[in-house]
């Protein structure tokens, strides 16, 4: 009977091994289906992750926010960044606080570094968009062309729900990046 104990423990371990990825899917799927969409301006590079493949690393134009609390922000501190949609249709952060907001959309982010003028620079939790291996280099080129100062035409749509932001798609010249590259190849 006792020799079956390891098997019982294994079943529990196997459940945990399945539940962690399942929970990841559940949280992100909820944000994607039920979250509100915000459009962020981006900047590109094309790094490589041996495990997860090629992705377009996203740097956001909007990565700082006014600090709302009395107590000064610390480096690496977990904060709530409040999102608003500007008149240009792009999202920006109206403020950052250590206290969970009661209303409005927000993203849980980390403080990169606090500025002296009560502004904090944020490390956003969404910083990459995975692309098919063969498309990623073309994506990088497309980004470069459409993300210069004279031709800033790239953005990311992020769905936000309960502090979790999930990138839905990345757009170049108002087209989803995959579609843009395929059109360019034709």
């Amino acid at each position: 009977m006792n020799s079956r104990i390891p098997f019982g423990i294994f079943l529990a371990v196997a459940l945990i091994q399945l539940s962690i990825p399942a929970q990841m899917i559940w949280r992100h799927e909820r944000s994607l289906t039920k979250g509100r969409a915000y459009r962020f301006r981006t900047a590109p590079v094309d790094p490589y992750d041996a495990f997860r493949g090629r992705f377009v690393a996203l740097r956001f134009e909007q990565e700082k926010a006014p600090w709302k609390d009395r107590q000064p922000a610390r480096r690496g501190q977990s904060v709530y960044a409040l999102i608003e949609e500007g008149s240009d249709g792009f999202a920006h952060f109206s403020g950052a606080t250590a206290h969970k907001p009661v209303a409005g959309d927000y993203i849980v982010a980390h403080v990169s570094w606090p500025e002296a003028n009560n502004t904090v620079h944020l490390i956003l939790p969404f910083d990459r968009f995975y692309m098919e291996e063969t498309l990623a280099p073309a994506a990088e080129r497309a980004y470069r062309e459409h993300n210069s100062r004279s031709n800033q035409n790239a953005s990311a749509v992020v769905r936000v729900l309960n502090g979790l932001g999930v990138i839905e798609n990345v757009f170049v010249a108002n087209k989803p990046i995959g579609e843009f590259i395929r059109d360019a190849k034709r």
């Binding site: 423990i9 294994f10 990841m24 994607l32 495990f51 090629r54 690496g76």
Partner: protein, 442 residues
Amino acid sequence: MKNRKYVAWLYEQLPGLVSEGVLPTESADALRRHFGEAAAGRSGRRWLVVLFSIIGTALIGGGIILLLAHNWEQLSRPVRATIAFLPLLVAQGLAAWVLWSRRPSTALREGVGTFLTLSIGACISLISQTYNLGGDFGDFMLTWTLLALPVAYLLGATVPALLYLVGITVWTGTVWDDGWKSLGYWPLLAAAIPFLWLTARKNRYHPRPVVFCWVLTLTLPIALGVSLHKVLNASNAWLVVYIALGGVLFLIGNRWWGGATAFWQRPFQSLSALGMTGCGIALSFNVVWKELAHPHGWAPVIDAVGWEWITWGVMVAWVIAAVALWADCLWRRDWAVLPMGTMPLVAFASYVLVETSEQAAIGAILFNVYLFLLGMGTLMAGVRERRLGVVNGGMVVLAALILARFFDADIGFVARGVAFIVIGVLFLTTNLGLLRWKGAVQ
């Protein structure tokens, strides 16, 4: 056939029996001569099967990860989720079958353990890719290795445990500057130590615990430096603490793996002795002690205790452990091990003396004397016991010390020249004296 099996078992037991003093080395050698190489060959073949099983499953698992990393754009999110779980479920099924049917085969357990570990990594990777999850590599490694560690215990598989050791070290490296997070390495490491005990319980010279020890000896110094860097910087005690770490591993190695017959069975002893000698040579330079000595004595050291007391605790624990193991070594009168095992004490005493007196030269002098005695002592012990490896060890320490002093710009050419000649003459006369005394005895 049965005989071979028993002989293989006996061969596995021999190093343990020798180290525990049940059997003298000569008898163990006589047994090996009597039974011959046949059993050893069989044992070698068995290990080849285990290795092929690990390499094979690692290749399959790695291939799955690479295939998924291509990021097939045509696949919808539900399809991707299914694919993510498929290898994991297959691997879990295999592991469940191994456990349920109580298969004792090491090759099977290691193979399935490796496959399950890689499947967990592949599953998390694909989900991260599908949902464009940010975050760093460290978080990914930590989640992966924490989910894989129970596999090591349940299947008795070494590969997940090795991945865990590497994974927690990588994670510590990624959070090095994130408050107290990097101290998390120590409880994470504690979770893996019972695995070593479980695998070493029956035969500590078995490749499984020994490989674990190799990876532990290679990763531990990295994690120690990263997790304690703030206090090590504040106290300038980098070299002292590294010598303490080396001392702990060296003494543990000699205490519990002292009967090792091959080099590969002695990671604790060999790597630690190498590292300690390197640190010791560094501490024999006056200029290094000048850098280590605080201009304001103990004040900055004591000040740092207030804001990093847990880190201090971990650092001091290593020094205490080194001293306790040294005392145990002294208690057991293990004279062959004691000289090298004393280095943490010399380092700590020199550090205290230099910090208190603010005289860097004290540390350098103490270390030069100590290393000279260590080299000589080891050399003589090797000659006495007719062990070429030990003789070479002593020679390496002496040669390194001589080279260090020869190029030491802190000491004038005349002083160095005179010292070299005096020590050389002393060497020759001692040698001559010893030869005459030996001749007289014979």
